[in-house]
């Protein structure tokens, strides 16, 4: 890839060359500016969004760290905070919101549901938004406390501090990769053990018939 000139020669561009004095100095300035003006795109779908709002409100005050403004337009946002459950019906919306964000962009998966589906291991729920968009930081908890989210954002800041123009692997996008698990099925089986989880479809928990619930008066005898 890269830029090819008229004589079919590869031109040196950022991402192809080794770090030089100039690019590291530019990196320093650019990363300083980027990490101190992260604008979050709130994608709050459930209870976790309440904690996200609390983090933005005066007690915790995200603005102290440069998240001055919750950007409700993906085109002006830098970091997508997915706070809450994502059902399959919402999956293409989340994907398009991510696609609409300009590079450079980062993503935080906030809470157990967004990171793994949480307790909602059912037919309608996305089992972790990393099957749909690339995630930089997972914030665990149900819900995470505002301190947790702020810590996650500071980890993103730390990540930005170490970014370099010379690193060509940054900002690669693979729209076709969505929905493809990286591990193969035998690896998944080895990891999940005997109990099974959402990735093991052959273990179906609900096929057994439920007994008809007894009436109260039957129970009282």
């Amino acid at each position: 890839m890269g830029i090819i000139d008229d004589n079919k020669r590869q031109l040196p561009v950022a991402g192809n060359s080794a770090p030089t004095f100039l690019t590291t100095k530019v990196d320093f300035v650019v990363n300083w500016a980027r990490r101190n003006s992260l604008w979050p795109m709130p994608f709050g779908t459930a209870c976790c969004a309440i904690e996200m709002m609390a983090s933005a409100a005066s007690n915790f005050d995200l603005a102290r760290f440069g998240m001055e403004r919750m950007s409700f337009s993906p085109r002006q946002a830098d970091v997508l905070i997915c706070a809450g459950r994502v059902p399959y019906k919402l999956a293409p919306v989340l994907r398009r919101t991510w696609d609409q964000m300009m590079q450079p962009k980062w993503c935080i998966s906030m809470g157990a549901c967004a990171s793994s589906g949480g307790v909602f291991d059912t037919y309608s729920m996305v089992q972790g938004i990393d099957t749909i968009v690339p995630v930089d930081v997972y914030v665990p908890g149900c819900p995470p406390r505002p301190e947790g989210l702020i810590y996650g954002l500071m980890m993103i800041q730390e990540k930005i501090r170490n970014e370099a123009l010379a690193d060509g692997s940054l900002r690669k996008e693979d729209p076709e990769g969505a929905g493809k698990p990286e591990a193969n099925s035998s690896e998944v089986r080895a990891l999940t053990g005997v109990f099974g989880n959402s990735t093991q479809q052959e273990k179906v928990s609900s096929l057994a018939q439920t007994a008809r619930p007894g009436r109260f008066k039957d129970l009282l005898g």
Binding site: Y123, P181, L207, Q209, R212
Partner: protein, 184 residues
Amino acid sequence: MTEQLTAIFGSAIVGSEVQCGDQEVLFVEPAQSREILEWLKDNEEHSYDLLLDVTAVDYGSVPGVQVVYQLWSIIHKKLLRIKCSLPENRLKIRTVVDLWSCANWLEREVFDLFGVDFVGHPDLRRILMPKNYSEGHPLRKTFPLRGKFSREKQTKIALEQDYEDYYRPEQLGALGIEPVNDAD
């Protein structure tokens, strides 16, 4: 009221009981459910004129689905629940949309989640699950909790949805709903 109904509809009234203290429940045959609901709505003595809910239950122990209508009489301040058992191989019942138009979306929901076919419904399509959902009707007891496809396939299908499609003005127009004009 049960005697009155039995006198008119005969064996279509399967039974009745009182549940949870004061909730009257009437079990009826699906073939005549519509006539019975219409009678309950129009009869002056009862006038159950408000349809609170249409829903369904799959008990699992008996194959099939029970469709539930919850009625309220505004004048007499009375609740009534009508239950209608549909056998597994014949999930069909007549629609009540022309009696209560609020039944439209409620019946779509029951169709979506249980697969009950409401005969005569003007617009019977999925309402909660995605439009291209092809795994069946998820609230049936025979439906596996995690769906029928692998997670990979489910994510693929989900990402293929065209969600803008839900609100295409032409489609709204086809249902007799005036499209909203953004220019105004």
